[in-house]
Each structure stands twice: as C-alpha cells, then as structure tokens.
C-alpha cells in the first residue's frame, strides 16, 4: 500500500470498511434471532472491494449494488437502518417491505438503481443510465458489480459489448471471490484472470488485489476518471475470496479448509489497520473512537429498524403501475442545451462511412421484409439470368493492405492463438 491519499480519505476508507462489517455482523445477529426475512448474504473479507470502488465515485454518479455490496451503499450515503429494515422487510424500509436485501434504489437523490436477483441484468441497465447521463450532459459515470460466476451470463456479454460500442461511461467491477455458490471459478470460467473477459470487447481492464483497499480505490478512481473522460467502459477484476457460505444457510464445507485459512490471514480490515498504524494514520485511540462511533450509530439504527412496523397487508395490492404525474413527475435533468439534440442542429446525413471506402447511400424507402409481397410480384417473372455469375468479377484484387476492414489485412495463412 502506497501513501497517496489525504488523511481523511484514508480514514474514510477505514470507517466504511468497519461500518460495512459491523452492519453485516449486526445482521447475522438479527438472522440468528430470526428477525431477517429470507436469506442473508455476507461480504465478509470483501469489504475493501465495495468500499474502495464506491468511494471512487462522485455524488452525481450512479451505482447499482449486488448482494455483497452493502459497503458500496453505505459509502453512497444509505443509512444502516435502511439496510436493516430491508432485510427485516419493514414498512419504513426503502421498498416498504416489498423487496428485501440490497434490492432497493433511489433515482432522485442518491442515484442508486436497485438490483434484481438475475445476475448480470444490471450491466445493460447501468449502460443505459450512462448513455442517458451523457446525452443529458450530466458528465456522470455509472458503476455496478458482478461475480466471477455472474460473468458467464449472456446479459453480461450483451451489456458490456453494447457499452463498448457506445463508449458508455461505465465501470464494471468483477468481484472474483473464487466461488459461485458451491462451484469453484475454474469450473465456471476457463481463465486465469477474469479481467480477460474485457478482451472480447476491446475495452480496458485492470486486475487488483481486492483485499487491499487503497489499491482498489486507486484503481477504481483511475477507471472512473478515464470513463468520465470518454474512454468507454472499463472492467476491473478485484481478486478476493468469499469467506462465508453463499448465504447463511450454507456452511460451505466444499471449500478446502486450507484455502479458507489462507484468506482469513489476509483479512482486508486487519491488513489495512496494520498499514494505517504503521503510517501513523491511526492509533489505538483513533480505533477506539471508530469502535464507539459505529457501536453508537448501529445501536440507534438497529433500534429504529426493529421498531419499524411490518407493512399492512393491503399494501401488497398497491403500486404495480405509475398512475401518472401525481405519482411520478418524470423530468430529465438537462445539463446541456436542448437545442444541441433537437432539429435543425441534430440533423445529419444518414449514411455509413467505412474507413478507406467512403460512404454508402442513405437507404431509400424500398421493399420490406415480408409485409407485402408486391415488390416481388412486380419484378420480372421470366426465367432470365440471375444477377450473379459464377465468374462474374474478373478484376484483379486491389492491393491487399488498403484497409484493415479488408480480408487482405488478415494474414492469408492462419493465425493461431493457442493458450
């Protein structure tokens, strides 16, 4: 860990990691008291990732958490009580009991998009937010997370590829914790470094030690700024380990003991504390202050959460549809002149230009696919020559390297990429 942040930043990272863990510890207690509805997931040992990446965002930026990103929510400004109440399905929770865990969002103030359980779905969604933000002139970056296992979903591919073609200001954190539920990463992804997924989209990627919060933060910060500068989406693989089971019900005995022991020895909070102490950024007193601050805060937050009522049954019936302006006034926040995107300024010539070959024509209103068969009927019906001839073109091939879009540029021999 290299010293490069301000003292406050160092201490913020520490505080949020501690808070992240304390919030989750509290939830384990609540779970054992049977106060949590449904499953409880843990990010134990992965706090540096959630905290370090989210801390790289600005207030105006958007994020969408996955189940193990409570830390990111806390950094973004979500109060612990909201997290508790979500898990307890309370009426004062952000979703008022309709959904649980980290499945909640806030479009207006915090700019958080709620995840759903289906892994990968957030990737195109956050790409869309990023594209909209750019269109509206907001200069924002969007961020979400995906697991090693989740990187095999089709929507991961579609989303990241689309983001890449659009150069969307979007940062994706691939949280490689070596397991997807009970299955080791090697059975899911035939790669040593999952950052290589980025190579399929021609985008930049980083690999970072996910247990080193300063490295995570610095990497994320750089990625966020590059994305903001218009370099397109960026993938960061943060390597770490899932210390507990998939959720509370899972003892995860399928994980070799030695593996768990190894990673317990690399606890990100312990490592960071050691670093902070060594750099004299933290002392015993400072640590005690944090202990107390968090304890006091969480006691209050937990109390509030526990005292919140369950939603009234009939509430189940409400809210499937937005009923209009009185329900939601939808107004995009323009931060550029609308004239830039409206005619006549928006007008363009609708043609493709291909490097080295000039432009095509704009497509005329021609026959359409099925829909009407007239076009076909109107053409000749005699058995004349087809348009194409066996040896139709006699012209010699042009110089083969005129442009990379041509096969000439592809080596005539085969290229072998053996790995």
């Amino acid at each position: 860990m290299k010293k490069e942040l301000t003292r406050q930043q160092y201490l913020d990272l520490y505080y949020y990691m501690r808070l992240n863990r304390a919030v989750e510890d509290t939830m384990v207690k609540l779970f054992r008291q049977n106060k949590i509805v449904g499953g409880l997931y843990s990010s134990l040992g992965q706090e540096a990732i959630s905290v370090g990446t989210a801390y790289a965002l600005e207030k105006k930026d958007w994020l969408a958490p996955m189940i193990r990103n409570i830390g990111a929510l806390l950094v973004k400004g979500v109060p612990p009580r909201d997290v508790f109440m979500q898990h307890m399905a309370k009426y004062d929770s952000p979703t008022k009991g309709k959904d649980g865990t980290s499945h909640f969002g806030d479009l207006e103030k915090l700019h958080i998009v709620s995840p759903i359980s289906m892994l990968g779905d957030l990737i195109p969604v956050m790409t869309g937010v990023a594209m909209a933000g750019r269109y509206l002139g907001q200069n924002i970056v969007t961020m979400t997370w995906i697991g090693d296992g989740g990187s095999s979903t089709g929507v991961f591919h579609e989303g990241l590829n689309f983001a890449a073609t659009q150069k969307a200001p979007f940062v994706l954190i691939l949280e490689n914790n070596l397991w997807a539920y009970s299955t080791p990463v090697k059975r899911q992804v035939p790669l040593e470094n999952l950052a290589d997924r980025a190579k399929a989209y021609g985008i930049s990627s980083y690999i970072v030690d996910g247990n080193d919060v300063v490295a995570v933060y610095s990497t994320a910060r750089e990625a966020v700024e590059r994305a903001r500068a218009g370099e397109g989406p960026i993938l960061i693989e943060a390597k770490s380990f899932r210390r507990l089971g998939h959720a509370q019900h899972d003892p995860a005995e399928y994980v070799p003991k030695e593996m768990r022991a190894y990673w317990e020895g690399r606890d990100p909070i312990a490592l960071y504390e050691k670093f902070l102490m060594g750099e004299r950024l933290l002392d015993t007193k400072g640590k005690k202050d944090v202990d107390e601050k968090i304890e006091t805060l969480l006691a209050a937050e937990r109390e509030f959460a526990e005292n919140s009522p369950m939603p009234p049954p009939e509430f189940a019936e409400t809210g499937v549809y937005c009923t209009g302006d009185e329900c939601h006034k939808i107004r995009p926040k323009w931060e550029r002149p609308i004239s830039e995107v409206t005619p006549p300024k928006s007008s363009v010539k609708p043609v493709w230009t291909v490097e080295g070959f000039g432009s095509g024509k704009s497509a005329a209103s021609t026959a359409i696919h099925f829909g009407d068969t007239k076009a076909a009927l109107e053409t000749e019906t005699s058995d004349t020559d087809a348009t194409t001839k066996t040896n139709g073109s006699k012209r010699a091939a042009k110089s083969p390297a005129k442009n990379s879009a041509k096969a000439g540029a592809a080596s005539r021999a085969t290229r072998k990429v053996k790995r």
């Binding site: 929507v155 689309f162 009923t323 409206t342 005619p343 696919h369 099925f370 009407d372």
Partner: protein, 329 residues
C-alpha cells in the same frame, strides 16, 4: 372517432409519424434497436428519424435484445422516454428476463417508474414462418406491471403509440406486420392520443358480440358483413389494449347481445379468449345465452407453407361459421 380533416396513411406510416412527432415534441424521446438508424428499420418504420434527430437519439445497436431492453430501462431511470425496437417481435423472447423481471417489477418493488416503449412487427399471414410470425401478447398480458397494446387501424396505431410514449409505465406495442402496407386510414392533422386501456366498438349489432384485435379485427369485420347479409347483426369490439383489459366495454356489449365469440390470431390454449371467458363467467354469468366460443390459431408453431399457414390461421369463413352457430342459441 374523429378521423376527419386528416389524410389517408398506411398503418406503417402511422407508426412512423407517431415516433417522428413524439421525438419532435420531446427531446427525452430516443429510439434504439437493430438497423433503426441509417437503414430506417427492417420495415422502414423509422425512416427519416436519424436524418432529423441525429446519432444520439437514433441508435443502431448490436444484435443484443437483452442489452437493448436493459439499456432502455436504464435510460428511462434517468428520465428519458426510450422507444426500443425489436426487429421482429419474435426476438422479444431473447429479452424475456429483462422485461418480465427488471422492467415490469420496478415500480411495484422500489417505486421506480420505467417510461419506455417496446415495439416491433408481429403476427402472421405473410409467410414469415415459425420465427417471424409471433403473437407473443399473452406472455406479457400475464406479467403484472406491463401494459400491452395491439392496434388495428392507422388512427389507433398513431394515437396509441403516442400515448405509450407519454405513459409513465413500460408499454409493449405490437404492430401487426400484415397491416403495415395493406391497411390505410385517416388520421387527424393535429396532435392526438388514443387512451390506453379502452376498447372500442367497431360495429354495432344486437345478435352477438365478436371480440378481437389487430389483424383479426379486419377478419372479424369481414365476417360481420357476411353475417349481416344473413340477418345476423354482430357487434364487433376492438380491444386495442390487452392489458389492462377494458372489461366495461366487453361486459356492456355482452349484456346486450348475450352471446360472445372471441377471435384471436394467437394460439388457442392460454390465449386471451380464456381470460375473457373467465371475466364473463365471473361478471356476466347470467347474461350469457350461449357458450362463449373461440376462433383462434391452432395450437402449433406457425407453419411456413402458405396452405399450412392458411389452415393454421383464423379467417373470415371460420368466424362466420362460429358466429352462425352461436347465433342459433
């Protein structure tokens, strides 16, 4: 319907105009999909849009339906009103998870409105074969949180598409491709919308009610004309919106005619006729003088060869026959 003072346009042109005018009216409206820009769409429904509104608002995407729908949803969260085109509606199933889980549930679960339209060419009768002829409406009618529109006239297509763009909810808008260039109709010169969730009576009658929508609307009207020649006056209802369903218009008509025939191009089992049957059973049980009847497509994929597809699809003759039988009760 106040269709006066307008011009005769095709169904296709009605859709194009709706998008054009909405994009003109509101810079929050953008269009994305495969080949929608330079090419103007596989069916030319977006012709001229790129030229006028530029690359930022008319977006040619990769072949990635989940990304198209997902990104549109994200855009809608940021306050835009995206229109996502499916090149053929058949490909909507490639984004099924995004639509039914992400898009449909957001408002209920976390109070996030997703004002977006998902539209594309649907339906058979043009020999598109089993993968270019889908009528997937029931998958979405069965998904709370969505609205589902399936118009039959240029007037409705334009007015409903505009209403869909202005709606704060995710709306599926199906465009029966058989109608694209075959059906013409008048549309007003001035801006108008058609309310989502309202059926309309296309033809009044007292002997039985025929309920239909989209291409089968025209088939039903054709059958009604033939029936009239035999003294049977059918009332023909065009549902226009399938979700939410306009129960009132249906019940009102059936309470008058006491007989109901549902005609849809969708396959039979699990089609919307069943839902209508259940509603009538619950709410107009005493009013029915005869069985509720269904004229629908066969319970098979859509076959390719013209004789097979014709046999597969409902037609005016089948509607006529069923109606005559029903009128006997």
């Amino acid at each position: 319907m106040a269709e006066a003072n307008g011009t005769q346009i095709t169904f296709l042109e009605a859709i194009r105009q709706a998008m054009f005018e909405e994009m003109e009216r509101d810079p929050a409206v953008v269009l994305l999909g495969e080949d929608v820009g330079v090419y103007g769409g596989a069916f030319k429904t977006s012709e001229g849009l790129l030229e006028r509104f530029g690359w930022e608002r008319v977006i040619d995407t990769p072949i990635s339906e989940s990304a198209i729908i997902g990104a549109a949803c994200g855009m809608s969260y940021a306050g835009l009103r995206p229109i996502a085109e499916l090149q053929f509606i058949d490909f909507i199933v490639c984004a099924f998870n995004q639509i039914t889980n992400f898009v449909a549930k957001g408002h209920y679960l976390w109070n996030a409105p997703a004002p977006m339209v998902m539209r594309g060419p649907s339906g058979g009768g043009v020999h598109g074969g089993p993968f270019h002829s889908a009528n997937p409406e029931m998958y979405f009618v069965h998904t709370p949180g969505l609205k589902v529109i399936y118009p039959s006239t240029p007037y409705d297509a334009k007015g409903l598409l505009k209403a869909a763009v202005r709606d704060n909810n995710p709306v599926l808008f199906f465009e029966h491709k058989f109608l694209y260039r075959r059906i013409r109709g008048e549309v007003p010169a001035e801006d108008y919308t058609v309310p989502i969730g309202k059926a309309t009576v296309r033809r009044e009658g007292q002997h039985l009610t025929i309920i239909s929508y989209a291409a089968m609307m025209h088939t039903s009207l054709e059958a009604a004309d033939a029936l009239a020649k035999e003294g049977i006056e059918a009332e023909v209802i065009d549902l226009r919106t399938l979700l939410p369903l306009d129960e009132e218009t249906i019940l009102q008509s059936v309470r008058k005619t006491n007989r109901c025939l549902v005609v849809h191009e969708d396959t039979k089992t699990g089609g919307i006729a069943g839902e209508i049957a259940a509603i009538l059973c619950e709410k107009a049980f005493g009013d029915l003088d005869g069985p509720l009847m269904r004229v629908t497509a066969l319970d098979t994929p859509v076959p390719y060869a013209p004789p097979l597809e014709e046999y597969f699809l409902p037609n005016a003759k089948k509607v006529f026959d069923a109606a005559k039988e029903l009128a006997r009760y």
